[in-house]
C-alpha cells in the first residue's frame, strides 16, 4: 500500500517536473539525441571497438577465434601485398598534389571575369557527381587499347605502336589510375578554392589594380595569403585521401597487375579470404596513420596561426598593411 502511494506521488511529481521548463528541456534534449547517438554508437563506435579487438585474433566471421597477440600487426608490415600497397599510396599523393595545383590555377582564373566562366566551371565540376562504378567503366573504355585515349593521342601524331597498354603495363598503370582520380576530384577542389577566393574583399583587388599589380602579383600577395588555410587543409586531407584510395583500382583493374591499393588489398583479405583479424589489423594501422596526420595538422595550424584571435580581429588591417608594404616596395623599384 505504502509503495503504491509512493509511486502515485512520484508520478505526480514527474508530471509536474515534465511541465516545468527544466523538465521540458531535458526531455527534448534526450528525445532529440537518442536516435543519432544510437546510430553513431551502432555503426561507428561499436564496430571501432570490435575492430581493435579483432586485430589480436586469428578469426573468420563465423567459427572459433584464436588469440595471436601482435602477430597480425607484424604481418601487415611483412606481407608483400600489404606493405607494397602502402607504398602505392605515394602515387596517389603525387596525384593529389597535381590535382590541388591544377585546381588552384583554374580557380584563380575563374574567380576573375571570364566569358562563359560558369559553363567551364560546370564542365569541370560535373565528374565529381558521377558514381564510382560508372567512372570505372568510363575509364576502362577510355584506356582500352585503340579506344578513346589512344585515338586522341593518334590525332596528336603519336603512333599506336609506341603507346603502352595503359592498364596492363606495370610502369604506367598506376599513373593511369591516379589520373582517373585527379579527373574526378579536381573540379570539386576548384569549386572549393573559388569559394575561398570569392570571400576575399573585392576592394583589395581594386586597390591592387590601382597600384598596378599584375595578375601574378595579385595571386601571390592577395589570394594566396587569404586562402592558405584551406589549401593547407586540403594538402593534409589528401594524405589521408591517398591512403584510402579505393574505387579506381577496385572497379577498373580489380587490383590486378600491381594496382592493388591498401583498401583493395584489405577488402580482398576481409571479404574474400575472410581473414578478419589481419584485415582489422590493417585497418587499425591505417587509422593510426590518419590520427598521426590529423595531430600533425592540428599542430601545424597551431604553429602557423598562433595568434588566430588577432587574425580574426585584425585580418583586414593585416592585409591592408601587407598591401601597403607591397605598394611601397613597388614604388621603390
Amino acid at each position: 500500500m505504502a509503495a503504491q502511494a509512493n509511486t502515485a506521488g512520484s508520478k505526480k511529481g514527474f508530471l509536474q517536473w515534465a511541465r516545468s521548463r527544466r523538465g521540458q528541456q531535458i526531455i527534448i534534449i534526450v528525445a532529440f539525441m537518442i536516435i543519432p547517438l544510437v546510430l553513431l554508437f551502432t555503426f561507428t563506435y561499436l564496430p571501432f571497438g570490435e575492430m581493435v579487438g579483432f586485430s589480436f585474433y586469428k578469426m573468420k566471421y563465423v567459427g572459433k577465434r584464436t588469440f595471436v597477440g601482435w602477430k597480425n600487426y607484424a604481418s601487415v608490415f611483412s606481407r608483400k601485398d600489404c606493405f607494397g600497397a602502402l607504398k602505392l599510396s605515394l602515387y596517389y599523393m603525387g596525384g593529389s598534389v597535381v590535382q590541388l595545383a591544377l585546381a588552384l590555377y583554374l580557380a584563380t582564373i575563374l574567380s576573375f571575369k571570364v566569358k562563359g566562366g560558369n559553363i567551364f566551371k560546370g564542365f569541370m565540376f560535373f565528374p565529381y557527381l558521377i558514381n564510382g562504378i560508372a567512372i570505372g567503366f568510363i575509364f576502362k573504355f577510355f584506356y582500352t587499347r585503340g579506344f578513346v585515349f589512344d585515338t586522341v593521342l593518334q590525332w596528336c601524331g603519336f603512333q599506336l605502336d609506341n603507346l603502352p597498354y595503359w592498364l596492363k603495363d606495370q610502369s604506367i598503370n598506376n599513373i593511369s589510375l591516379v589520373g582517373t582520380s585527379v579527373w574526378r576530384y579536381f573540379g570539386q577542389n576548384m569549386v572549393l578554392f573559388i569559394g575561398a577566393i570569392m570571400s576575399v574583399d573585392s576592394e583589395l583587388y581594386e586597390a591592387a589594380m590601382l597600384d598596378g599589380a599584375n595578375r601574378f602579383e595579385q595571386f601571390r600577395y592577395i589570394i594566396l595569403p587569404s586562402i592558405k588555410t584551406i589549401v593547407t587543409l586540403n594538402v593534409i586531407l589528401s594524405i589521408t585521401g591517398s591512403l584510402s584510395a579505393f574505387e579506381p583500382p577496385y572497379v577498373i583493374t580489380s587490383g590486378a597487375n600491381g594496382t592493388g591499393t591498401y583498401f583493395v588489398v584489405m577488402n580482398e583479405i576481409a571479404h574474400t579470404q575472410q581473414k578478419v583479424g589481419l584485415a582489422s589489423a590493417m585497418a587499425v594501422v591505417l587509422l593510426l596513420i590518419i590520427f598521426a596526420a590529423t595531430i600533425l595538422q592540428k599542430l601545424f595550424f597551431k604553429y602557423v596561426f598562433r595568434n588566430a584571435e588577432d587574425e580574426d580581429f585584425g585580418a583586414a588591417k593585416k592585409r591592408e598593411k601587407q598591401l601597403a608594404r607591397y605598394a611601397a616596395r613597388k614604388a621603390g623599384r
Binding site: 532529440f32 546510430l39 564496430p47 583554374l106 560508372a134 567503366f137 585515338t151 579505393f246 576481409a270
Partner: protein
C-alpha cells in the same frame, strides 16, 4: 601601353582561355566518348573507331537493352526508395540534433560534438570489416530497411551546415515563442525548421548525391542482386560476359548518370555553396 605590354596582355588572355578550354575538354571527353558509343549499333561499334560519330543520334536500342539486362527498372525503384527514406530520416535526425546542440547548454554538449567530429576520421570502407558482423547479427544483410538505417548514420557535414545556420537565427525568436507558451518541440517544428529550408536543400543535395552513388556498402549488404539492385550496383552486371560490349555498357553508364546531371543543372548554385559549406569542417 607599350606594344610589349599589349602583346603580354593578349598572350595572358590567350593562355587563360586555352587552359579553360583544354581542361574542360579533358573533363568532358571521357563522358562524351561514352555518349557517342551508346548510340552506335552493334555493327557500327564493331567496324568504326570509337570516336567516329554514330549514324543516328536517335538510336535507342542500346539504352533499352542495357536498361533491361541490368535490371535497371528495379534498380531505379530501389534507389528511389533508399534515397527518399534516407533523406527524410537524416533531415529530421540531423536538424533535431543540431537544434539541441546549438540551443541548449548541457554537460556533454562539447563531448557529443567531438564524438561526431572524430567519427569522420574513421574511413568508411575500413569500418565495414566490423560493421559487417553487426549488420549480420541485426539481420540487416539483404534487407532494404537495414541498409537504409545504416545509411542514415548522421553525417557531420550536414550537422555542421545546420548548426552554422542555427547560429544565424536569433535566439530572441525562441524566447518570444516561449513567452507565448510554445513548447520546445513547437519552436523546433513550427518556427525553426521552416527557416532552415535553404540549409536543408543544400544538405539534401550533398547527401542525396552521396547516397545515389554509394556503391561499396550496397554491394556488400544488398547481396541479392536480382531483387535488391541499386542503380550503382546494377551497373556491375556488365562486368561478366557482357564485359566487352561497350555500346551497351556506355548506354547503361549514361542512364545511371542522367539523374545526377538533371539535379546538377537544376541546383548548381546550391551544390556549389554546399561544397564550400562542407569544407569548413575539421
Amino acid at each position: 601601353m607599350t606594344t610589349l605590354q599589349k602583346t603580354g596582355h593578349y598572350l595572358a588572355i590567350f593562355v587563360k582561355y586555352l587552359s579553360l578550354v583544354f581542361f574542360s575538354f579533358v573533363a568532358v571527353l571521357p563522358v562524351v566518348s561514352c555518349v557517342i558509343t551508346a548510340f552506335k549499333t552493334e555493327e557500327e561499334y564493331q567496324n568504326t573507331n570509337v570516336m567516329t560519330l554514330p549514324q543516328s543520334w536517335l538510336n535507342p536500342d542500346n539504352f533499352l537493352q542495357a536498361f533491361d539486362r541490368a535490371n535497371m527498372g528495379r534498380a531505379f525503384v530501389n534507389s528511389t526508395i533508399i534515397l527518399v527514406s534516407v533523406l527524410v530520416v537524416s533531415v529530421l535526425v540531423g536538424t533535431s540534433l543540431a537544434y539541441v546542440l546549438n540551443r541548449f547548454k548541457f554537460p556533454g554538449n562539447g563531448l557529443i560534438r567531438n564524438l561526431f567530429l572524430f567519427a569522420t576520421l574513421l574511413p568508411g570502407i575500413a569500418m565495414q570489416i566490423a560493421v559487417y558482423g553487426i549488420m549480420d547479427s541485426l539481420n540487416f544483410i539483404n534487407s532494404l530497411p537495414g541498409y537504409i538505417i545504416m545509411m542514415c548514420g548522421t553525417d557531420v557535414i550536414a550537422i555542421y551546415i545546420y548548426i552554422q545556420f542555427f547560429e544565424n537565427i536569433s535566439v530572441s525568436l525562441d524566447e518570444s515563442a516561449i513567452i507565448d507558451g510554445a513548447s520546445y518541440f513547437t519552436i523546433y517544428h513550427k518556427i525553426l525548421l521552416p527557416l532552415l529550408k535553404p540549409a536543408i536543400v543544400t544538405a539534401c543535395i550533398l547527401k542525396g548525391v552521396g547516397t545515389y552513388n554509394e556503391y561499396y556498402c550496397a554491394n556488400l549488404y544488398l547481396q541479392n542482386k536480382k531483387l535488391l539492385p541499386t542503380v550503382a550496383t546494377s551497373l556491375y552486371t556488365f562486368v561478366g560476359p557482357l564485359g566487352s560490349k561497350y555500346n551497351l555498357i556506355c548506354a547503361g553508364v549514361i542512364i545511371s548518370l542522367l539523374p545526377a546531371l538533371i539535379v546538377f543543372i537544376l541546383f548548381q548554385k546550391q551544390i556549389y555553396s554546399g561544397m564550400t559549406a562542407g569544407s569548413v569542417k575539421g
